[in-house]
Symmetry: C2
Subunit: 249 residues, 2 copies
């Protein structure tokens, strides 16, 4: 924030915007990796560091916004430059959200670390690994203005949704097996959901890049919309409880 007020060329300022975005993306990806490590390694110190570092990402988003306003006001960009600038604003908003989800995961890690370990933690790690790769690749696509790569990353989100759905079912099953698992599994459900949402934001960025490069929206419906919404999981042996007046399923 202690940026020098040097008169820079227009190109330099546009490059600064791209650099800021890639730095923000790199930090976001590192935040996701650390948050998940805090869960899997039960590392509360790391979790706290992720929570703390989120301010940096927020500050970077504000810096992007300030630079965008400056470029719009002083340079009055046209056509492709204008699209580049508006794109940066959109991508930075998605990156801020991605980092925010990582922070949320880290906060939940702090709670989970106080409880007994749950075995599904590995499923969360696998899910996260794909999403981290998607973030890396979409940042490459952004820098290289590679629409084909963006589409390829965009497609990978389907795998994330599938993995999330089976993780969701698995977690519900653990909850049904033993009520002592319910609180921990609920936090893991939300952690998994956060990672799945990060995948959605990567697809947003992919769509934005595609629009920037090709000048048109992706022709197909986004692969978004996870299917756990429709998940109905029943306990193996139904407990005899009150309130069974209505039919299940």
């Amino acid at each position: 924030m202690t940026q020098q007020h040097i008169v820079k060329s227009y190109d330099e300022e546009l490059n600064r915007l791209t650099t800021l975005i890639t730095q923000m993306g790199g930090l976001g990806e590192a935040q996701v990796a650390s948050a998940i490590q805090a869960v899997t390694k039960r590392d509360s110190e790391l979790a706290s560091r992720v929570v703390e570092t989120d301010r940096k990402v927020d500050a970077m988003e504000r810096e992007v916004q300030a630079l965008v306003i400056r470029l719009l006001a002083l340079r009055q960009p046209m056509a492709q430059d204008l699209r580049t600038i508006v794109t940066a604003l959109k991508v930075s908003a998605d990156l801020e959200r991605i980092a925010d989800y990582a922070k949320n995961v880290a906060k939940r890690a702090l709670v989970l670390n106080q409880m007994r370990p749950i075995r599904t933690v590995n499923g969360v790690q696998r899910l996260s690994r794909i999403v981290q790769e998607m973030i890396k690749d979409i940042l490459d696509a952004y820098v290289d203005l590679d629409a084909a790569k963006a589409v390829e990353v965009w497609r990978r989100d389907e795998e994330v949704d599938d993995m999330y759905t089976s993780l969701f079912r698995e977690l519900l099953t653990y909850m049904m097996e033993d009520p002592r698992n319910i609180t921990a599994c609920t936090h893991l459900l939300f952690i998994a959901k956060n990672i799945e949402r990060i995948g959605d934001h990567v697809t947003n960025i992919a769509e934005t890049i595609h629009f920037l490069v090709r000048g048109e929206a992706l022709p197909v419906e986004r692969p978004k919309g996870e299917t756990t919404i429709y998940a109905v999981v029943e306990p193996e042996k139904p407990a005899e409880g009150p309130g069974g007046e209505s039919s299940d399923k």
Copy 2:
């Protein structure tokens, strides 16, 4: 989308932007109301209508974006107008997210309606009522450029977070009471979470309005960050199950 290409004055185009935002907000608020009604009245037809209508909101966001790009490119706005235009872009993104959460609630209503009723549905309704009022009031603040009102709405989000936290605990308790409740309660947890997130997006809009009117960020940390993250709920009578090797809490 069948907009006539009439040459309009700059002021007319700026007004069109505000009108679009308020229409989008009105539709978003209606979507939230209908989605919750679909849950409480177990109305699957209404739920399907909410899912369908979400396309309209998406189309409106694209219309805002197109108008913003047009205004930036052709009118080269300065100072306050530039801020008004960038604000519209940010607010429309938040409204799109709000409607998206409503759609998610509606999708979950479709599943819940196939299962036996859960009593906490009323808690979800109360939570939603506050959030709906917040949406209405923030749209008024946007039209009137009323920063004080925006701050007032912003503060109300704390109440939403508190209600959400107690709802979260209540739902965990129901899950522990009877494993047959687990799937339905999990969907209700996500519904409650969606409503809580809508509240967060309203506070985003409040911050954007404050910045637009006063030219500076809100001086205090946002009330965001729900506290359920730290919720540890234990079953009343711990079941004797396997895997209790590690200490709880």
